[in-house]
């Protein structure tokens, strides 16, 4: 990079050479019109209906699959002894990991004052909530008698039966329910000012009434804004330890068990990094088509894509270190079981899954994302995002299946084979996610308008001579 050619591009910031966070030429009114127009227009694009129907159709897989599951029991899945955990746990961990990027963007990047996040914050949070919806389904339907799932909650009952708090399953209930609640609250609080805008710009009485109720009567009072900002900052500060704890607790489901390949201390950081990695991949999977379809290229710019790719590069590096350390520790531990587990993971009957994981999570993304050219190549980035999501699913598959199907006792060895019901419910949750996301982009503002306004140059308050007068009066 020693000889750098001067770059001539109006979208580049001349001072830094980076892409601008918001394309030049916008003002308060234009960003408001652009974002609220998507929600308030009466002309719904045909493509939206198409996406909704496809999403809804695929989501039928969940309805059919779960109905059959409730009628027949978990025996319709591929789970068996010794592989008692199958797709349900894999999908649960995968979906909840995807959700983590939304919280990371809305909370951690807010605390670090990364204002570029404002454009992608709202739909990343929506992604979190819908991913948690999909994730939460799996443990509930996996409990065997799902109509008794509420027994997991501590509540006074005539049986005098209570949860057992030394179990990671009880920790999961607390972690995931807190995560879902706080994510929804944070998301809603963030939308209140935008609901006010939608109420004031709505043409139809129904929209005015509906958004008016949702806005709680928001009127942009300065005193309200100060409390609002304080609450947002606190929620961000609380969500940061929360998001780190959720995948940590989920990794405890594995790490607390004394199974080779699960019983390791590296799991919490390695799970969290993997979660953020897959989550950013999913944000890219969503953001790239949406910015194209709704012509949002000037609000979700190449800068955002570039930055997200950089976060993926960093977290992918941590994940790669985790894989390396697992292999190293299985040798260094001098434990026969650990050594066999790793050999079996790589070269056993399901070794193919491990090599798919290495190729899709490490080799393809981490070799190409170093190049800035490829990081701002939208088509390549979209491809990479799909590749990483596949890879992260295989990571969970490898962890869950390979440790279980050949455990300590060779006489109890078995294998794992997923059934069509496993696939149907898994693919169905992708449809459910798509369906919810399409409803979201049509009915709610997908980019936070008030936060975008704050990023415009017009927001600067100039200290004029009047100020000096007031100051001198106060001083005297």
């Amino acid at each position: 990079m020693a000889t750098k050619e001067p770059i001539i591009d109006p979208n580049l910031d001349p001072a830094t050479g980076e892409y601008a966070v918001i394309a030049p030429g916008h003002n308060f009114k234009s960003v408001t019109q652009k974002i609220s127009g998507i929600v308030l227009t009466s002309n719904t694009p045909l493509g939206w209906f198409f996406g909704l129907i496809v999403g809804g159709g695929v989501a039928m897989g969940v309805v059919v699959g779960i109905t059959w599951l409730f009628l027949k029991g978990v025996g319709i899945w591929g789970v068996t002894i010794p592989g008692a955990w199958g797709f349900a746990i894999i999908n649960f961990v995968w979906w909840i990991g995807i959700g983590h990027a939304g919280t990371l963007i809305s909370a951690i990047l807010l605390l670090f004052k990364q204002t570029w996040r404002n454009s992608i914050n709202r739909f990343a949070e929506a992604m979190t909530i819908f991913a948690v919806v999909c994730a939460g389904t799996f443990p509930l339907i996996h409990v065997g008698r799902p109509w008794l799932a509420y027994w997991l909650m501590p509540y006074p009952n005539t049986m005098n039966v209570w949860p057992q708090f030394r179990s990671p399953l009880a920790w999961d209930v607390f972690a995931v329910s807190t995560y879902a609640t706080i994510s929804v609250v944070f998301w809603y609080i963030g939308m209140i000012p935008d609901f006010g805008t939608l109420r004031d710009r709505a043409v139809t009485p129904l929209a005015r009434y509906g958004y008016g109720l949702l806005s709680l009567g928001w009127r942009g009072s300065t005193r309200h804004w100060i409390r609002y900002e304080s609450a947002s900052l606190l929620l961000a500060g609380l969500s940061t330890p929360l998001v780190l704890s959720v995948h940590t607790v989920i990794s405890f489901d594995f790490a607390v068990a004394s199974l080779a390949g699960w019983h390791t201390t590296i799991f919490p950081p390695y799970f969290v990094a993997g979660a953020v990695y897959s989550g950013f991949a999913m944000v890219l999977t969503l953001a790239i088509p949406i910015r194209k379809f709704y012509h949002m290229e000037d609000l979700v710019t190449l800068r955002h894509l570039d930055n997200m790719a950089k976060v993926m590069l960093a977290t992918g590096g941590i994940v790669a270190y985790g894989y390396g350390m697992e292999v190293f520790m299985s040798w260094y531990s001098a434990s026969h079981w650990e050594f066999f587990m790793m050999w079996n993971r790589m070269f056993g009957p399901m070794g193919w899954a491990y090599w798919i994981l290495i190729a899709t999570n490490i080799v393809i993304p981490l070799t190409s994302l170093w190049s800035r050219k490829l990081r701002v190549n939208v088509a390549w980035l979209f491809f990479i995002s799909i590749v990483v999501n596949t890879g992260m699913w295989f990571e969970r598959f490898v962890i869950v299946v390979t440790s279980l199907y050949r455990d300590y006792l060779p006489s109890s060895w078995g294998t794992f084979r997923a059934t069509k019901w496993d696939y149907m419910i898994y693919v169905g949750t992708m449809g459910l996610f798509t369906l919810l996301f399409f409803l979201f982009i049509r009915l709610l503002p997908m980019i936070p308008m008030s936060e975008i306004r704050m990023m415009l140059p017009q927001t600067k308050v100039h200290k004029g001579p009047k100020d000096a007068e007031v100051v001198s009066q106060e001083a005297s």
Binding site: Q164, F165, F174, G220, R223, I226, L242
Partner: protein, 180 residues
């Protein structure tokens, strides 16, 4: 609440945050205290001009967090030691390190809900009706691109003619009366 009649206040509309902050500073210096500004995004300088600095949201958040951690830890202790003691592989009934995890989650849950709902309550929301929403130009701009200053009629210094004259010396787009 007795029915209110007459004027709520005078509402001046500005195009830029700087004009709003200047006018607010001048109004404060002139002795007006019952006033409020309305902006489409948070303007810290506008709050400074109103001499509004502290909020009780962080205190509520702290109290909520303390309540969450105490509730969760005491609940777990009672359940696993007295309510429903179970022998799990001979581990102590009061396994406090394991109890930390749900207690940690409830700290965040209670603190977050206190911050969010505390903010809404302190702001007096939901309040679907407010006099400023009656002003013809308010809803067109306050949540989009305009900056408003409302000098309220219950300020002792308020006088319809003098206050109007006071506001009109600033580069306001308009100064309108707001009815209750």
């Amino acid at each position: 609440m007795p029915p209110r009649e007459g004027i709520y206040g005078l509402l001046a509309e500005f195009n830029t945050p700087t004009e709003l902050v200047d006018a607010t500073n001048a109004a404060y210096a002139a002795g007006y205290r019952r006033m409020e500004s309305y902006t489409p995004y948070p303007v810290e300088e506008a709050a400074e001009a109103l001499h509004f600095h502290t909020t009780r949201v962080p205190l509520l958040c702290l109290l909520g967090g303390l309540m969450g951690v105490t509730t969760a830890f005491l609940m777990e202790t009672w359940i696993n030691v007295w309510g429903y003691p179970l022998n799990i592989a001979g581990r102590p009934l009061w396994s406090w390190p394991a109890f930390i995890i749900p207690a940690y989650e409830w700290t965040i849950l209670f603190a977050g809900l206190s911050a969010a709902f505390g903010m809404i309550a302190l702001n007096g929301l939901p309040q679907l009706y407010h006099p400023v929403l009656n002003a013809p130009n308010f809803r067109n701009g306050a949540t989009t691109d305009k900056f408003f200053l409302c000098l309220e009629a219950h300020d002792p210094k308020f006088s319809l003619t003098e206050t109007r004259a006071f506001l009109e010396q600033f580069p306001a787009v308009s100064v309108v009366e707001v009815d209750h």
